[in-house]
Structures are given as structure tokens and as C-alpha cells.
Amino acid sequence: MGDLNGPDKVSRIEFLRQGLSRLASVALGLVGGLAAFGSRRENTVWQIDPAKCVKCEHCSTDCVVAPSAVKCVQSYPICGYCRYCFGYFHPHYDELTSAAENQLCPTDAIERVFVEDPYWEYNIEMDKCIGCAKCVKACEDFGNASFYLQVNHEICVNCNNCSIAMQCPSDAWDRVPYDEPYRLKHEPRQVAELSFESPGKK
């Protein structure tokens, strides 16, 4: 291959090949170094910001895991323990019982337990919950917003490209550090002083 100009001289093609080979290693080192320089030691995982979530139900339909890795979480310190729970009962309920037609949850994933008059405890059964956020929406619209969505990392496979995050209309999904994998609501908040005005009086 090529002309040899002397015993210890490499051919032109071989010289070119070596040069390109070095160029390839330099390019690889450069890209790798650049990426490594800007890299983080920790891995990241996906999580929902409950403050941004708009309860659009994409979480229940777009996850690659079935049922979704997104689950409703109950924050007991925030919960009002209402006898009439807006997240539990369907707006068109017949009576305050756990009969299916009275429940808002499509999968019977909320357990309603009597504590003492007039308080009831509401528990989410993770393996039944599909992350549809129906209860979350009702609880936030009418109640204390103690129900909220979180990614359960026991189920989440941490896809490189989260398929729910792609569809999220409110940018509520982002990568969080491995060390802080949840955005939990746990602080009991200030009790509201609500004022009600009839629209008719305006």
C-alpha cells in the first residue's frame, strides 16, 4: 500500500490513518471530557412537583409501567379527616357509604376507616391506585389538598426519557437528585380564614 520512501518511513496512507486515528481519540477525549466536566456525581430520578400538577390524568395513561408508577399519596397531617370527603365520595353519591356508586375513585383504591365521631381516616392502597388524580383534584378544589401525586420509586423504572414527562402540560415533571427523590407535603399549613360572598351580591 502506497509508496515507501525508506525502510523506517511509513507509507502515506498509513501516516494519514495514524493521524486520523489520533484525531479520533482526541475527539472522543474532548467530548467525553466536556461531558464529564459538566457531569454530576449523583444520578437523577423523575419526580412530580405537586404545586405545578394540574391533575390532567396523563400520569395514569402515559407511564410505560402498567399500572402507572405515579401514585396518590395521602398526607395525614394535612387531611381534615372529613366525614364527607370530597376525594372519596362522588359528587352524585346516594349515601355516605363505601358502595362503588358512591365513590369517586375508579379503582376503589381509597380505604375509609372510622376513627371517632366525626372523623374518618382515608388511606391510599398503592397497589390499586392508578394515579388518575381524580381524588387529588377534588381534594384540592374543595378540601385541604392532602391528596397529591408522587412517583413511587419502587415501581418507577427511571426511564432516560420519561414518557409522562413528555406529555405533562404544566411542566410539573423534572429530574431531581437521587438523594431527594420525593417532594412530600408534610407541613400542616395555616388554617384558612375563608370569606364567602354570594356572586349575586356583587
Binding site: G80, P91, N161, Y182, L184, F196
Partner: protein
């Protein structure tokens, strides 16, 4: 009327809900306040032991209650990521040794099965070096994202190995390659023109993927990964059908994803063409016995061309000159096409798409507001901010479109030049940029002492090899018999 909720019972709350339905709306409706007070229990009620009372590290958040053992489930441990890096390094080293030194198809096959199990079904395919291209691209071009160091290592390691030992990653470590390798049944040889045309796809794919990742639009390589559904044993129907389609086609067109789609293959090919210690068909000197000729199901063996009639030198020079003249034209043309395609690619970006929807809804008031626009309006972000963001992404896409198109034009014209150049090929050699180092051809070489038992008189391999050595083109049946013999 101002109501303090402190002393209200649940009955009143129900009445209140009735009033709400009747159309009385709360005026003060803030996110950060509780509508109903926390109950004051008479019984010794304590909050249930659930993981939402703990943070991810197992620390109790609520300090004033009794200690609990419920804990939020942790993501896969950080150590696991480093174990994966270790397994990758070991698998690549073993693969390189088996391919270059041992020349053992059997060893590479079992390593491939292990990798399919570990990186495929156990790790469920994520993160893989193919997808890591996008993390690296996003990390370099977007300051808001930093790729984890383990992901960067996943990106660099197979390329570094390819630079020295060839594409050993493809043969025995990549789970996507492994699942396709297993289904090879009756590989056919595709027409050369078709393979050259198809081999442009990976360049389009990697260019597009980098552009879309760099603009934080999305990770298309992961999104359209055809096999991840199989690894997870779970997935959306369209992608599972896509994967099944690839596997079905893969029975006849060996490793179709690797050869005609894989974006990482482009980078591996750039590296492996310089590999100093690449897998070779023969350990000694090629005797041109033709026994290995049809052993590669991927058609990556360069055949000798010394006996062929050559064209006139002047014709060749003229063609080459015109191709070199065509090069800048193709680059500019490609750039222009890429620039024209930019608005289409930009629409793939959520921000741009949202901005376009908002504009469209403004122009046509009868249009039903979509979930995205409704959400955007409810969030109270200024429309100008969104429009400015969208304009920024559009201009990035425009720039990227020129670059991507120009790059593709350059690749295409280089491919044309490469195709028109006829190099002297004396022996049977692997096509270094493309060869997966699967080692199938090694056992067909009679010069290899290790594989000598294959060629004892009367052995099956020898009969097959002799059948292949006949002057006529080998029948597809014979090729398949060989494949069966190998697998």
C-alpha cells in the same frame, strides 16, 4: 360574612358543600392554606405508619409524633449504577479478549446471552450507551442539565474500546444487538445500492437525536427504542409492534436495527475503523480459500478484487473530480433542506407547540382550547415570555437544521466518493468500520489452528465449507445450514 372554621363540625361542612354546589364560591382560595382545621382527636389516634411521613433517606419528618418505620421507597441504589459501570467494563474487556485474542464465537455468544440477561432483562435496558448520546448532548449544550457521571462513562467506554479493539460492544454487550442476533434465521444479502442508501439513516437519526436533545425537545432514541418493551415485558402497543416488526425482519435481514438505524453505531464505526487490534478472519495469512466468504450474515466481509477488470484511469479520475465538485453543493443543499425542515422539527418541542396552539386559538376563537393551552393560561405566565422562549428555540432549530443538513450532505457525498473509489483488496478482511466482531467468520478459517477440528475429513463444517467453495454463488439454504451449524 367571615367564617372561622375552628369550631365547625362535619355537618356544617356538608352543608357548606351543598352551598358550593349551589354556586357560592370561596373567594379566598389559596394554595397554601388548609380549608378545614386538623381534627382534634379525643381518642389516642396517631397518624398511620406510611412512607409519606418520612423523607427519602429514612428520616422522620414529623418529629413530635412517635417514631415510625414506614419509609418512602428509595430509587435503585447509587451503588447499583457503579456496579453497572463495572459490569460494562468487564463485559467489554472480556469481549475484546474473546474477539481479538481467543477468536471464539462460542465465548462471544455466551457473553452476549449474559449481557442480554443483565443489561436487557435485569436492568430493563436503561441507561444504555445508545441513549446516553442524548444525555451527553443535552449536558454539553444545555447548562440546566448535568448528566450523571455514570451515564457519561456508559457513553465513553464502548467508544474507547472500539478505538482499540473494534465494535466488541455490538457483538457481545449491547442488549439490543443480542436480541436481534438470536433471531437470525435465514439471512439474505441485500443489494449493495440499497445497503448504501439505508446506511444513511443512522446519520440522520444521530443528527436529529442530538439536535432534539440539545434543544431539550426530547430523547427520540429512547422514545422509539423498539426493544425496550420486550426487556420490561411491558410497553405501549405501537412500540411493541415496532419491535416485533424488527425481530421478524431480523430473521432474514440480520440485525436490521444495528445496521440501518442504530445512531450509536455511527460513532462506533468512526472509532473502530482505526482499531489497532481488531478481530481478524484469519490469525495468520489469508490463503483466499473462500471458505469464510458467506459466513457473515451482515455482509461485512471485504472480498478480494484483484482479478476484476478495472476501468480506465481517466474515467475514474473524471468521476472522482466531479464528485469532489459535488461535495460543497451537496453540503449547501443539505443545509438548506435542514433549514427548511427546522419549523417541522421545532414543532416537536413542547414550548414551540404550545406557542403555536396559543396563536392558533387566538386567531380562531371558535377553536376548542386544548389541555395544554388551558393549563398554560391557568399558570399565569406571561404570553410574551412563552413566545420569546419559542422564538429562541425556533432559531436554535434553524441553526441546528443548517448544521444537521450540511453534515448529512457531507456524509452523503463522502459516501459517494468512498463508493466510487476502488481500493486494492487482496485478501478476505472484515469491514472494520462496520464489523460487529461477532466472530462467526473465525471458525471458517482453515489457517486457524484453534478451529482446525472443524476441518477434519468428514466433519459437518468441512462439508458445508466445501459446498460453499463451489464456483457458483452459495444457495441461501446452504448459508442457513451454516448459520444453524454456528448457532
Amino acid at each position: 360574612m367571615v367564617i372561622s372554621y375552628k369550631f365547625l363540625d362535619q355537618r356544617f361542612i356538608k352543608l357548606l358543600f351543598g352551598l358550593l354546589i349551589l354556586g357560592l364560591m370561596p373567594v379566598v382560595q389559596a394554595e397554601d392554606v388548609m380549608r378545614f382545621p386538623a381534627p382534634e382527636f379525643d381518642s389516642n389516634y396517631t397518624f398511620p405508619e406510611t412512607w409519606d411521613l418520612m423523607d427519602g433517606r429514612g428520616n422522620t419528618i414529623i418529629q413530635d409524633t412517635t417514631p415510625r418505620d414506614g419509609q418512602a421507597p428509595l430509587p435503585t441504589s447509587q451503588t447499583q449504577q457503579w456496579i453497572d459501570v463495572g459490569v460494562l467494563t468487564l463485559a467489554l474487556s472480556l469481549g475484546a479478549w474473546l474477539a481479538v485474542k481467543r477468536r471464539s464465537r462460542r465465548g462471544l455468544f455466551w457473553l452476549m446471552i449474559f449481557s442480554l440477561g443483565y443489561f436487557g432483562f435485569y436492568k430493563e435496558g436503561c441507561v444504555c450507551p445508545i441513549g446516553s448520546i442524548q444525555n451527553v448532548a443535552l449536558s454539553i449544550f444545555n447548562s440546566s442539565y448535568a448528566a450523571p457521571i455514570t451515564v457519561v462513562i456508559f457513553f465513553v467506554l464502548p467508544l474507547a474500546f472500539a478505538l482499540f479493539f473494534g465494535r466488541v460492544f455490538c457483538a457481545s454487550v449491547c442488549a439490543l444487538g443480542a436480541i436481534q442476533d438470536l433471531v437470525i434465521w435465514k439471512p439474505i444479502q441485500l443489494p449493495r445500492k440499497l445497503t448504501i442508501a439505508l446506511s444513511m439513516i443512522p446519520y440522520v437519526y444521530i443528527g436529529g437525536a442530538i439536535l432534539l436533545a440539545a434543544t431539550n425537545t426530547g430523547f427520540i432514541i429512547c422514545r422509539y427504542d423498539p426493544f425496550i418493551g420486550f426487556f420490561r415485558l411491558n410497553g405501549n402497543a405501537p412500540y411493541l409492534y415496532l419491535g416485533a416488526g424488527f425481530l421478524l425482519a431480523g430473521m432474514f435481514i440480520a440485525r436490521p436495527y444495528c445496521r440501518f438505524f442504530c445512531p450509536y453505531g455511527v460513532l462506533l464505526g468512526l472509532m473502530s475503523r482505526f482499531a489497532r487490534w481488531h478481530l481478524a478472519i484469519t490469525p495468520t495469512e489469508c490463503v483466499d480459500c473462500r471458505l469464510c466468504e458467506a459466513s457473515c450474515p451482515f455482509d461485512y466481509i471485504n472480498k478480494p478484487n484483484t482479478g476484476l477488470e478495472r476501468e480506465e484511469r481517466a474515467t475514474g479520475v473524471r468521476r472522482l473530480a466531479s464528485l469532489f465538485l459535488l461535495l460543497p453543493l451537496l453540503v449547501v443543499l443539505g443545509g438548506w433542506v435542514g433549514h427548511e425542515m427546522a419549523p417541522v422539527m421545532a414543532r416537536y418541542n413542547n414550548t414551540v407547540f404550545l406557542a403555536e396552539q396559543i396563536t392558533a386559538e387566538k386567531a380562531d376563537p371558535t377553536m376548542k382550547a386544548s389541555l395544554e393551552t388551558t393549563t398554560f393560561r391557568s399558570m399565569g405566565i406571561a404570553e410574551e415570555q412563552l413566545m420569546a422562549e419559542a422564538t429562541k428555540i425556533r432559531s436554535q432549530m434553524n441553526m441546528g437544521g443548517w448544521l444537521l443538513g450540511g453534515f448529512l450532505g457531507l456524509v452523503f457525498s463522502l459516501k459517494l466518493i468512498n463508493t466510487s473509489l476502488i481500493r486494492d483488496q487482496k485478501d478476505y478482511e472484515v469491514d472494520k468500520p462496520h464489523c460487529f466482531s461477532c466472530g462467526r467468520c473465525c471458525s471458517y478459517c482453515p489457517s486457524d489452528e484453534m478451529h482446525m477440528p472443524n476441518f477434519k475429513p468428514g466433519s459437518k463444517a468441512l462439508e458445508e465449507a466445501l459446498a460453499l467453495g463451489k464456483p457458483s454463488e452459495p444457495e441461501p439454504e446452504t448459508v442457513s445450514a451454516m448459520q444453524k451449524g454456528k448457532a
